[in-house]
């Protein structure tokens, strides 16, 4: 079929052009020798015909080859986690509305179309947009959500389950190597009005011509003469597509010469629909920094923040208006021009019968309604996108990411991210109003699944550049203390939370020949204190004594047990956190502490789908028990004391009173780094504050990082840490020495959770609870003696 079509085309073209001209010349030159001249002409004509045919055949093959194998440059798109709605989900009404606004849902009575909603007091009717996911996704549907008391009270949806999801918000695109960006929209999903407007303004004869339109050309020439300059191009959509698709933008004669035959060839092989679809997705609509906006689908997102299907006539007209000059008619930079041109498009649409008179009057009164550039969530979370990019780069080559339109479903929780940004920037603004000294980073993780919910790499969260959350390697300071304590608690015969540790001056000889004499933060020494207090009050001397007792190498082993991959030399100084870690690495280290001993790799991606929404790859949760339940429970309990009464107690006034959380402050030498890492039952957050130049930041974990952490945690939906001891752990009253059991109400007695192997046989002879238990055993023992 295609072959048949090719030959006549080349023949027609060949004879219609060059041979006619050149033939004439030779005719006059060789007028005297007719015999030769006829044969000569014939020969030359044949040669030229063959050449032209060959040229056209080549062009033809070129056109078809490129069109058939054309790979749309479809950068991978990254989406946040979909907002999950179900009764009991903690969600403030304001946050719900904030999400709808970010996703550009319109307020419209009755929520008639996808992407619209209406409110009635605490009840929202939301017409969701459908989406694909590895579990099939969600259809577009109208749901009714009732909010109250900061949570979802009731929800009804089409399928009868009280469950629904809003589509995932696109938070970025990944286009390595090139800068062309688009959202492919198949023709059947392009609003018919857009096509009508496009054809009315750009190519009225589109359905009648064969690639070039003499009528169109004539009209353009008339218009140009009338206007006294070049106002219309007269090229068809097909020609424009050829130009955009195959030819470079420079206007050389050769390019001009091949444009027309290529347009004709394209029309010969492909349907009008395919050409139109290609045009709609190829067309250049503007520039966003280095990123070139191509196609109507992305144009809709870029200028209106919505899918193309949801645009209203005046918005569609704005997109068509841009075709004449995306920069000249840029609705953001040149709104007057854009508006005038848009209204011209509406007028033409009216004249062509695409718009009713009434609709025309209504829509020409509307504003441009372009969303401000800065408001796009596409660039809002560069630090997180950076993490996604790094995780993707391990599994996908750059060209796949740039071309195949992958949909990356990430773990980002938009509300947690916004809360983290706010908490960090507000606190740093209060400490350092000038804004140039202090900076910081935040990592928020859902520890059970290892999902990274939020990542802030700078106090100016939208700033590209140094990603402190991933790249600022700083000494972790006292954040290492739980690891030292855990090392001890894993030896229950030797240590419990009650074990007395001497908070007294200590000098450690180093292999270098020097001596290390660590000081406490307050310069004092408290004498013997229970192990848990060394943690709660972050006592350096006690921790070093304990650490030297268990051995720095044992602490290194615990670090690796908790998932630290890098080699850490077992120097004594690691006991006070001379280990360099990034905030992200700290989150990895603390993750098993938050889950009671299960290590789960942190992930920023859950699924990768192809451009049609079919699942390609999954990043399932993996998990491994790395700490036994007993010691894991004890260290969590110890870290809760940090917040209950220790160095982080100021958090209590910010957090809900009954919420059980745990954590640890960290301050490095000379106040260079302020850390806080801590967790509830469902959120683990790490905050770092310091200076990029590593100078004294004049902040401590308690003053610099903890307030950020507390405010952030207070604004997230929280569950408490479990207070149920695992098998093998008992609550025991201990005497002040920490070496004998005691009883409730006895002088100086304190209750600790203890592993059975740690519970001393000796009692101080006071109290009831533990005493009775011990007593019964003694009593039974007596029977057999």
């Amino acid at each position: 079929m295609a072959k048949n079509a090719k030959k006549p085309a080349s023949a027609r073209k060949g004879s219609a052009r060059r041979p006619a001209k050149s033939g004439n010349k030779r005719n006059t030159r060789s007028a005297g020798r007719r015999w030769f001249s006829w044969r000569f002409i014939a020969k030359v004509s044949v040669v030229l015909l063959v050449l032209a045919a060959a040229g056209l055949a080549y062009l033809d093959a070129y056109v078809r080859d490129r069109f058939d194998s054309h790979v749309w440059q479809l950068p991978a798109r990254v989406y946040a986690r979909p907002v999950e709605l179900y009764p009991g989900r903690v969600l403030a009404r304001n946050d719900m509305l904030k999400m709808l606004e970010l996703m550009r849902y319109r307020r419209a009575g009755g929520a008639p179309t996808p992407g619209s909603y209406t409110t009635d007091g605490n009840t929202l009717v939301i017409h969701t947009r459908g989406f694909r996911d590895s579990d099939g996704g969600e259809p577009a549907q109208r749901i009714r959500v009732t909010l109250g008391g900061g949570q979802v009270r009731a929800l009804s949806s089409n399928d009868g389950d009280s469950l629904a999801r809003l589509e995932p918000l696109q938070i970025g695109s990944i286009h390595p190597g090139h800068t062309e960006d688009r959202v492919f929209v198949p023709l059947d999903r392009v609003p018919p009005l857009l096509v009508q407007m496009l054809l009315a303004t750009e190519d009225r004869d589109f359905y009648d011509h064969h690639g070039v339109s003499p009528r169109g050309l004539a009209r353009a020439m008339v218009a140009n003469v009338k206007a006294g300059g070049l106002v219309q191009g007269g090229s068809t959509l097909t020609q424009q597509l050829v130009k955009n698709f195959w030819l470079t933008q420079d206007r050389t004669l050769a390019r001009k010469l091949v444009e027309m035959p290529m347009a004709v060839l394209l029309e010969l092989h492909y349907s009008k629909e395919r050409i139109l679809e290609a045009y709609l997705n190829e067309v250049y609509l503007g520039q966003d920094g280095k990123r070139a906006i191509h196609g109507m689908g992305l144009g809709a997102q870029f200028y209106f923040g919505r899918p193309l299907e949801e645009l209203e006539p005046h918005q569609l007209a704005t997109l068509v208006a841009l075709l004449k000059g995306p920069s000249y008619y840029d609705p953001r930079r040149n709104p007057e021009r854009a508006l005038a041109r848009r209204n011209t498009v509406l007028k033409v649409a009216l004249e062509e019968g695409a718009l009713s008179d009434q609709a025309y009057r209504r829509f020409r009164e509307r504003d441009l309604e372009v969303v401000p550039r800065g408001a796009s969530p596409l660039y809002a979370f560069p630090a997180f996108i950076d993490l996604v990019r790094r995780q993707l780069a391990r599994d996908y080559p750059a060209d796949v990411l740039g071309e195949e339109g992958l949909r990356i479903h990430s773990t980002l929780d938009v509300l947690a991210q916004l809360a983290s940004e706010k908490a960090l920037s507000e606190h740093l603004n209060s400490l350092d109003a000038s804004g140039d000294a202090l900076n910081g980073a935040v990592v928020v993780v859902a520890p059970a699944q290892g999902d990274v919910l939020a990542l802030v790499g700078s106090r100016e969260s939208r700033a590209q550049g140094f990603n402190r959350a991933l790249d600022a390697t700083r000494p972790m300071g006292s954040l290492v203390k739980p690891v030292v304590m855990l090392t001890a608690l894993q030896q229950p015969k030797r240590y419990s939370l009650a074990t007395p540790v001497a908070d007294e001056p200590i000098t450690v000889p180093l292999t270098t020949g020097k001596k290390w004499t660590p000081q406490n933060f307050d310069g004092e020494s408290k004498g013997p204190i229970p192990l848990v207090d060394a943690l709660a009050y972050s006592r350096n001397q006690a921790t070093v004594r304990l650490g030297m007792d268990v051995g720095p190498d044992a602490v290194v082993r615990t670090l690796s047990q908790l998932g630290v991959k890098k080699t850490i030399p077992a120097y004594p100084s690691i006991l006070l956190g001379s280990i360099g870690m990034t905030p992200f690495e700290v989150a990895m280290l603390y993750q098993p502490l938050a889950t009671g001993g299960f290590a789960t790799p942190l992930r920023s991606i859950t699924d990768v789908l192809d451009k049609e929404g079919e699942p390609l790859a999954r990043y399932p949760v993996d998990t491994e028990e790395v700490i036994d339940s007993g010691p894991a429970y004890l260290i969590q309990w110890g870290m809760q004391q940090v917040v209950e009464k220790g160095t982080a107690r100021s958090a209590r006034s910010v957090l809900p009173p009954d919420l059980k959380v745990a954590g640890k402050t960290g301050t490095s030498d000379e106040y260079r780094d302020a850390w806080f890492a801590g967790f509830s039952g469902n959120h683990l957050s790490v905050v770092w504050v310091g200076r990029d130049n590593n100078e004294n930041a004049r902040v401590t974990g308690s003053s610099g990082a903890l307030p950020v952490w507390s405010r952030l945690m207070a604004s997230l939906p929280q569950t408490s840490l479990s207070q149920v001891p695992p098998p093998g752990v008992e609550e025991v009253w201990m005497d002040p020495s920490g070496e004998k059991t005691s009883g409730k109400g006895c002088s100086g007695a304190r209750e600790y959770p203890m592993l059975e192997a740690s519970i001393p046989e000796q009692s101080d002879g006071c109290g009831s609870a533990t005493q009775v238990k011990e007593g019964v055993v003694e009593w039974f023992k007596g029977w057999f003696d």
Partner: protein
């Protein structure tokens, strides 16, 4: 001597009465999805996961379960389901981890715990860890003993 015998008898009576007062765990109510997730929206996702799994769509099933977990993070049953699913997918490592997590959150029910230990055993066997599998299996048997006696 007689005194000692009396004491022993008394002790036996005490122990027996103790048994009668607190029923042994193995007689506890069986653990099911219903007992674990009653009233939770996660229940709907669990049943979708079961359907997907029945149709061989393990990826979709996994996604449903992971979503359910955010709604009911302390449900032993969901971890058990994830362990079964990972085992079916041939990921013994994750299966073992999830089974251990299910055990950590398991209600006080010996039959259920025994079943989870069997799951740990299967997951270890999948990873080629025979001795680990044997250990887990004997933990399961120990829990089932009273039944067989």
């Amino acid at each position: 001597m007689v005194q000692r015998l009396v004491r022993l008898t008394l002790l036996a009576v005490l122990l027996l009465s103790g048994c009668a007062v607190t029923p042994p765990a193995e007689n506890a109510e069986p653990v099911t999805a219903d007992t674990e997730l009653q009233g939770s929206p996660a229940m709907a996702l669990l049943s979708r996961a079961e359907q997907a799994r029945a149709q061989g769509q393990t990826g979709a099933a996994s996604r449903y379960l992971e979503r359910a977990l955010t709604m009911a993070p302390n449900s032993s049953w969901l971890y058990r389901e994830l362990a079964l699913l990972r085992l079916e997918e041939g990921d013994g490592h994750a299966a073992e981890g999830f089974a251990q997590r299910a055990l950590r959150l398991a209600p006080d029910n010996d039959d259920y715990r025994a079943e989870l230990w069997e799951l740990v055993a299967a997951a270890r066997a999948e990873q080629g860890d025979r001795s680990g599998a044997d250990q887990a299996r004997s933990r399961a048997q120990a829990l089932r003993k009273p039944d067989r006696a």
